[in-house]
Amino acid sequence: EDKVVQSPLSLVVHEGDTVTLNCSYEVTNFRSLLWYKQEKKAPTFLFMLTSSGIEKKSGRLSSILDKKELFSILNITATQTGDSAVYLCAVEVNTNAGKSTFGDGTTLTVKP
């Protein structure tokens, strides 16, 4: 059974801090790893990673994948209160359906 584990489960920081969120996986026929931000209800897409060692960056957020050690990290620098959310990691497999398996998320709270 495909498995995605995120850590920590929750994190509380102050504005300006840098955070690192972790995602490890065990899947058959890996295709890609995705990060989402979930505020209130709907997850919104952040990054898709398919190759090891290539950093994806968007503003203060960045992410990298290690396909040998089967994990990814999401970094957020100079955190702001608007970064408070649940961050979800999902892994897609290379089948006809391209099924996604999600982790349980990391709840990030950024205090002023």
């Binding site: 995605v4 295709r31 709907a42 897409f45 979800l88 996604s100 349980d104």
Partner: protein, 113 residues
Amino acid sequence: EAGVAQSPRYKIIEKRQSVAFWCNPISGHATLYWYQQILGQGPKLLIQFQNNGVVDDSQLPKDRFSAERLKGVDSTLKIQPAKLEDSAVYLCASSPGVLETQYFGPGTRLLVL
């Protein structure tokens, strides 16, 4: 561009009752997904459609859950009869095709009493 629409946004029912959720995906998106997200957990895929055909329903509890996408556009998910453990947010997502970026709707929060 309009996003994924879902209704209702909230629903409270008693156990053993029936409930239905509706999803209208982004125009032109061939792939539609229904996820169940229990509080404190990540979304779990229930069923995936490609146009009006089912691609994956391996995690759908078929004794009580059903879904259809008859014309390959909007979709309904039904629970009959509901159990307490069905309390969750039901998320619909769509993508242009399989293995493309998924766009999520706002979800329907179901509470079964």
